[in-house]
Symmetry: C2
Subunit: 249 residues, 2 copies
């Protein structure tokens, strides 16, 4: 038996999310079903570094699984991509053989996300479902400035989904950066781990700042409230991308 | 009557091309049909700076049309985008009122295109139909070097579709630049005008150079042959984007 580590890219639009669910296609099930096609008789379980929600995308999700059949990493990558045809909305960018102790979930020490906003009046063509469309002109510098309030260790109860299953609402944001390139405003976020809807809650709040509806002090007050009701706005999944994962060593 | 200039963005995947045709949806017809919805009784004719082929995209196509109905540019932009819903694969990025002598086609003095290649082993997810997928590693520096042979004034018979209707095969390429950003290899091209399939023919040829199948001397020989049969490869429409247009003054 060999454990493999995968770097996975996916367009989240057709999926109910990363995790296998009864109500529709998931990324996890797509990969597991592909493995069964080239390794019949095996019951693979694919574990990801993070469970992305419906409509959320990945550029560098990491996953692992065990395979009984003797195959090289290149063969695994090729077979997976082949069996996810013809409509590849999931692609295995890389496969490598790893120690059987490796866990994509528990060994991840830093997760990086990017959230993309299309800040323009015109409707989206290429980017429909791939960016959040915000027509109001956004002041990205004010957004970046207000975001710094949330960097460091805080109780993020305001910025967490009511159904979030994490034991503690206390998380440490390593960085939050808001930048603009043309009509795209991007938030870059990194932390060991995130709460459910945390980035979308942060982006929604910063959008209010960028549009001039909220001040930096309002963000501070929302954080201090430790109350989901104090959240200004939750951003849609469209613009969220799981970018990459860092591991120990 | 007022003439309007439009900056038009479109995802070419669903279209038979820019020009109105009997055999399927075109960008021109999509815009003309939208105008008829807010200006009933008028018979608008939308003229573009360039006629893109089936599957070719635009970031900054320019077009003009005349409107009898009294509307501001902002109203025209809003009404056009509204009436091209719900599936906006065409977006009017900007509308402005121009002199009735202005022609998007005849006043254009420089047209700029970009051609995108996804140079990686993994299949495409987000970019299927939006980039040319080339799995062989490409030497973009060799491609750039060979491209310089084609800059300047030449007889481009080898690099033109047999059905091209231009009077002369002689064109002047202002620049051809090949660059790489991660796994994307891009060709940037600028000229007053292009022949039918000229950029796709150039990209196909440079791909052979990048993959090591052709030398710079082979490109020179193909150009000198002035014979379509000497072309190595025509690239698919997927990666081609009409980027922007320059006008006099």
């Amino acid at each position: 038996m060999q454990r493999f580590k995968l770097i996975v890219e996916y367009d989240g639009r057709p999926f109910v999310g990363w995790q296998r669910q009864e109500n529709g296609p998931s990324v996890q099930a797509t990969i597991e079903d592909a493995i069964k096609k080239f390794a019949p008789g095996e019951a693979p379980r694919v574990i990801g570094s993070g469970r992305t929600d419906a409509g959320v995308h990945a550029l560098g999700q990491v996953a692992h699984f065990d395979l009984e059949r003797d195959m090289t990493p290149d063969q695994v990558q090729g077979a997976l991509n082949y069996h996810m045809q013809p409509r590849n909305t999931v692609a295995i960018v890389k496969a490598e053989a790893v120690d059987s102790e490796f866990s994509a979930r528990f060994d991840a020490v830093k997760r990086h996300y990017v959230y993309r906003i299309a800040n323009r009046r015109a409707p989206l063509t290429f980017d429909a479902g791939l960016k959040w469309h915000v027509k109001t002109p956004l002041d990205h510098e004010a957004m970046h400035d207000a975001a710094q309030i949330l960097v460091g260790q805080h109780d993020f109860t305001t910025f967490r989904h009511v159904a979030c299953q994490a034991k503690s609402p206390v998380k440490t944001m390593d960085y939050l950066t808001v930048e603009r390139e043309g009509d795209e405003v991007r938030l870059l976020a990194g932390a060991r781990s995130f709460l459910h809807h945390q980035i979308r809650s942060i982006v929604g709040t910063l959008k209010l700042v960028g549009a001039g509806n909220w001040t930096k002090a309002d963000v501070q007050a929302a954080l201090d409230a430790r109350d989901r009701q104090a959240l200004g706005l939750n951003a849609p999944p469209d613009g969220l991308y799981f970018k990459h994962v860092e591991f120990e060593g």
